[in-house]
Assembly symmetry: C2
Homo-oligomer: 286 residues x 2
Amino acid sequence: MIAIDWGLTSFRAWRLAEDGAVLDRTTGPFGIRSVADRDFAAVLDRAVGTWRPATVLMCGMIGSRQGWVEAPYVAAPAGLAAIAAALAPVPGMDSAWIVPGVSQDPPDVMRGEETQILGVAAPLGAGRHVLCLPGTHSKWAVLEEGRVAGFRTAMTGEVFGLMRTQSMLAPLVPDDAAEDPGAFDAGVDRARDEGGLLHHLFGLRAAVLLGRLVPAALPSMLSGLLIGHEIAELSAEAQTVHLVGSAALTERYGRALSRFGIAATTHGEEMAARGLFVIAREAGIA
Amino acid sequence: MIAIDWGLTSFRAWRLAEDGAVLDRTTGPFGIRSVADRDFAAVLDRAVGTWRPATVLMCGMIGSRQGWVEAPYVAAPAGLAAIAAALAPVPGMDSAWIVPGVSQDPPDVMRGEETQILGVAAPLGAGRHVLCLPGTHSKWAVLEEGRVAGFRTAMTGEVFGLMRTQSMLAPLVPDDAAEDPGAFDAGVDRARDEGGLLHHLFGLRAAVLLGRLVPAALPSMLSGLLIGHEIAELSAEAQTVHLVGSAALTERYGRALSRFGIAATTHGEEMAARGLFVIAREAGIA
């Protein structure tokens, strides 16, 4: 089968053996935003045409309103069975489906992450597990007996970008600012102080004005502050958090979690391929 | 005397009688950012030259590094006596001074608001009082026995602007979005739910996607959410909060405070003139 994680800005595909082993992989800048004519079939053919004929299962924003075909959200709590039962067939394509996103109340949504979560869930087994998929919009999910019991999204990466480049903090930072682990740690710790995030953000400016923070260290402290607030609010009393994402991000989150006394286990980005495989098998299409 | 609140983008001046009564007032777009040649003396002469000769006392960003002369911060806790003792004389001007800002630890700063606070403090008398000066950078101060015991700044207005115009929420909002008091209230209430601000911000997008929030109501709910978080974090267990600011902002904050069961008393924007008068009298220059 062919497994594809197709997002707004990225396209990652894997050719999988019958037992789920990865035979080939390809990536490209074919995110759905780049497909101006919405001719997704042509992009698919160009990217993985040589792997066909084969069953195709896709996840991510390709299943959103702006994507190929909308795969309506499945409401949490939702597990492998519910998600595999709601695959959206792609009109005009043989043996091609899209995985639905998951929604919940109070309002929250994910699209693509549910597949990575199911990829991690398979080996974790029963019991309660807390997962974090850090990013522009970080996802925190609680798995219970293999199902996504609930999840929450934090706008951490996006707020970091806006603060770093558009806010009154931006002009304080010199061009040569480098990573500063000590300032990152100080930001994580500050997140637990009284006053809240809106206050702590202003405090970065005050710290520079009063000579307590070297301007070049501001981005690292800002990063620690935001990730610290995210962990304080969303770690759901976990003793261990399963991190899924790039090495750079999971390393950063693991460091922050350790300051909360929380252990971290890291799972690679290929969890999407694993998840697509278990969903396809559950749906009886692979 | 002449009392001037001179900020980055605004200039407000009052001619005061010996008993502090306002005889005349003038405002203009002469904020220090607009004074490209830094010839502040010329601006002053143009704006209030006809009121001179008279003692001039100024507060606000005119006393910052980018201003006329830097008036170093006084550390909180600080009251009328400490602030009046630290006025910075303006070189080359007869009888002209600038009020210092106030700083504290963990790092926070104010410049201009300390003067409004002292203007409110005079009639409030002894005891503990909580003040809020809402704005781009809202200030919350605790007065104890007439002194600023401590204060905290929240970046509420700035975060609202960035989210409203630069974030992934911006394209969701139609051009004809109008004030929606019900959505504002819902935002205030949501601020008390679990998950924290970074999560609640993303929730606005999810609510629109899932059809739970009319896109035109998003800015009002965003405003309520941010002000709600500010109040939840900074209201310092007050039963009554003294609001100082424009009618539009104090009305909005009063509405939000009422949903927390907190009463609000509103003081007008002329508190700066009152504060400059009591400082001048304490310093023996008026």
